[in-house]
């Protein structure tokens, strides 16, 4: 017999479906019923089951390759989604955690330490949202305080001293918005990281593995390559926050999610990130080992490339990469009172530095 009855289908891994995944659940239910009736009645439904399984696979492929931005947010925030420690367990050998900012305390929202990936020795830095309630509370749900960013920088300096490349795994709703966070200079801590990361003299690879929330993400997000997992998102503000400010109601979060263009696909088009890392069908949480394998391959391949580059060249390129981020043009007449000027000007956009070709300039694709 090709099929055996099981209470939960292997495809769902016992993980509850999100609202937009419900159509899949119906097909799975159908398969379960067929299997059950096969056992009870002894009739052979295997042909039918095969057909429905085919349908299920087709439906899943279709669904997950076309997630809209709001669905992507649900995936990125999925409670079962692999976190930094999961990826470290699955792809890093001999992880040596190094704690504390040597100044105030050890912020559990960001974990740092030595580890081996492929045959490379690296420094790993990543947000940790926490798995159970206790850990989530301890870690402030992965929202770091200033000492988290200072700890990250301290470990980056350590990596630089011993020539170890740096891998940053980003997964946070944002830096912690609290009284003590402000008192201890959260803005200052993030700013300092943004100033120091461009001149750390070892390769830096950053990957958004879940939520890339604003300054809290960018605070460990400056590097030679920045990638994002297929169902992660990276945004200047949460869709809820954006809706509350610009639409005056958090209920418009879905609308804001569409407007913000923060999925991997959009960010690639806008040339804000370098790569999108494929996830297993149904998302990283349905097959963490495969997700970790893709991430590992990306990190190892990228670091091998970067290690071949001379440090001075690496830093020049890192600066150039940051420097070209933006989308603007020089209007010919710049009339402040003519609203049409910007629209019309897009077509005759003049490049800012005449000696650089248009392609290298920051001409993000108007979508």
């Amino acid at each position: 017999m090709s099929t055996t009855p099981t209470s939960t289908t292997t495809s769902s891994n016992g993980i509850a479906y999100l609202e937009f995944e419900k159509p899949l659940e119906r097909i799975e239910r159908q398969i379960e019923e067929l299997e059950a009736s096969q056992t009870v009645t002894g009739r052979d439904h295997s042909a039918m089951i095969r057909t429905v399984r085919g349908e299920l696979l087709a439906a899943r492929r279709k669904l997950y390759s076309n997630l809209d931005p709001w669905e992507t947010v649900q995936m990125a925030r999925h409670p079962k989604r692999p976190l930094t420690p999961d990826y470290l367990n699955l792809m890093v050998r001999d992880f040596v955690e190094l704690r504390g900012d040597k100044n105030f305390r050890d912020d559990r929202a960001i974990i740092t330490g030595f580890g081996r990936i492929g045959n490379l020795k690296c420094m790993f830095i990543g947000h940790n949202k926490g798995r159970d309630t206790k850990e989530r509370l301890e870690n402030c749900f992965g929202m770091a305080h200033p000492e988290g960013y200072r700890k990250a920088l301290l470990k980056m300096r350590l990596a630089e001293k011993f020539g170890l490349p740096i891998v940053c795994l980003i997964d946070t709703a944002g830096a912690y918005p609290g009284i003590q966070s402000e008192e201890r200079g959260i803005a200052h801590a993030i700013a300092v990281n943004l100033m120091e990361m461009p001149r750390i003299r070892v390769p830096i690879v950053c990957v958004v593995i879940g939520e890339g929330g604003s300054g809290g993400a960018l605070g460990i997000g400056v590097g030679d390559r920045v990638a994002i997992m297929e169902h992660a998102y990276y945004s200047v503000i949460s869709p809820e926050g954006c809706a509350a400010i610009l639409w005056k109601s958090a209920e418009h979060a879905k609308t804001a999610a569409h407007a913000l263009k923060f999925t991997g696909r959009d960010l690639l088009k806008l040339k804000l990130i370098d790569d999108v890392i494929k996830e297993p069908l149904g998302g990283a949480h349905r097959d963490p080992a495969t997700a970790a394998a893709s991430l590992e391959k990306y990190i190892v391949d990228t670091l091998r490339d970067l290690k071949r580059v001379k440090t001075d060249t690496l830093l020049k390129r890192r600066y150039a990469r940051l420097r070209q981020l933006g989308s603007y043009f020089e209007s010919q007449s710049a009339p402040p009172s003519k609203p049409k000027a910007s629209k019309a000007g897009v077509k005759r956009a003049r490049v800012i530095k005449p000696e650089t070709p248009v392609e290298t300039q920051a001409q993000a694709v108007p979508v």
Partner: protein, 266 residues
């Protein structure tokens, strides 16, 4: 014409002390209340006039405008919002950059405008600030930036967030070349601008009572669900916690900047 946050008129009621003030007196006093020292917000052009030696400001990149890369529309289209801001302020964007002199000392200056879409930072602000800092590095001049901003401009999405990294990288380069960088935080300096070039000054100055912080007070309140301390997120609060070198009243800014430049060489 100075734009204060009060209706036009010959007289106005001070927002700080509620006394009636003659507008002309307020303007002559650099938009600081002569009674209670309340510092009104100052538009970028007026600020340049207050700060620099007369006639010395030479603007850079005056014509840069955003491409509206996300083709954004919220309650109103971004293009319309920009046009309205340009109409209201007479500026093309939320920052003015250029070369100027302060008490005879040559500097590269950037001044943000609180009235242009809340001084928010999109592609153009990021580019103008980064270009100005590069200019300061290349010409071996001090960079002085007067910040005021609600943060990154949401209407340009992640591109705006990346301006934080871009401007900070330019400052790193300036710092490596031993360039001097002075920031003057004015009301309000928050979020993405606070968490990038505003807090990276070699010397950080703030105007009295300016609001300075990262997260908005409402967001914080929603997280902690508790009363925020008295004077939370003001210049004085940030100085007490060790993040501001000096709080300087507006009338003394020219002097203070010149003094610091003299100490730091260049």
């Amino acid at each position: 014409m100075a734009k204060v946050e009060v209706p036009e008129g010959l007289w106005l009621r001070c927002q700080g002390c509620s006394k009636m003030i003659f507008r002309k007196v307020l303007e002559e006093n650099l938009l600081v209340c002569p009674e209670c020292s309340y510092h009104y917000r100052v538009d970028a052009r007026t600020r340049v006039g207050q700060l620099t030696d007369p006639g010395t400001f030479e603007e850079f990149n005056a014509d840069l405008v955003s491409t509206n890369p996300l083709n954004w529309t919220d309650s109103i289209p971004y293009a319309k919002r920009m046009a309205a801001a340009q109409e209201k302020t007479g500026l093309t964007e939320a920052v003015l950059t250029g070369r100027a002199y302060i008490k005879g000392r040559s500097i590269i200056l950037a001044v943000m405008d609180p009235f242009f879409v809340m001084g928010s930072m999109g592609s153009v602000v990021g580019e103008k600030v980064a270009a100005a800092i590069e200019r300061a590095t290349d010409e071996n001049l001090p960079a002085v930036i007067l910040t005021c901003s609600g943060g990154a401009r949401m209407q340009e999405g992640l591109i705006s967030l990346m301006q934080m990294a871009k401007t900070s990288a330019a400052i790193a380069r300036h710092d490596t070349q031993k360039g001097l960088y002075i920031t003057v935080m004015t009301d309000p300096t928050t979020a993405g601008v606070a968490a990038s070039f505003a807090f990276l000054g070699d010397v950080i100055i703030a105007e009295p009572k300016a609001m300075i912080g990262f997260a908005g007070p409402r967001v914080i309140w929603n997280t902690v669900k508790a009363e925020l301390p008295e004077g939370f997120q003001t210049a004085e609060f940030m100085q007490e916690h060790g993040y501001i070198d000096r709080i300087v009243p507006r009338a003394d800014l020219r002097n203070e900047i010149a003094r610091i430049i003299d100490y730091c060489g260049k």
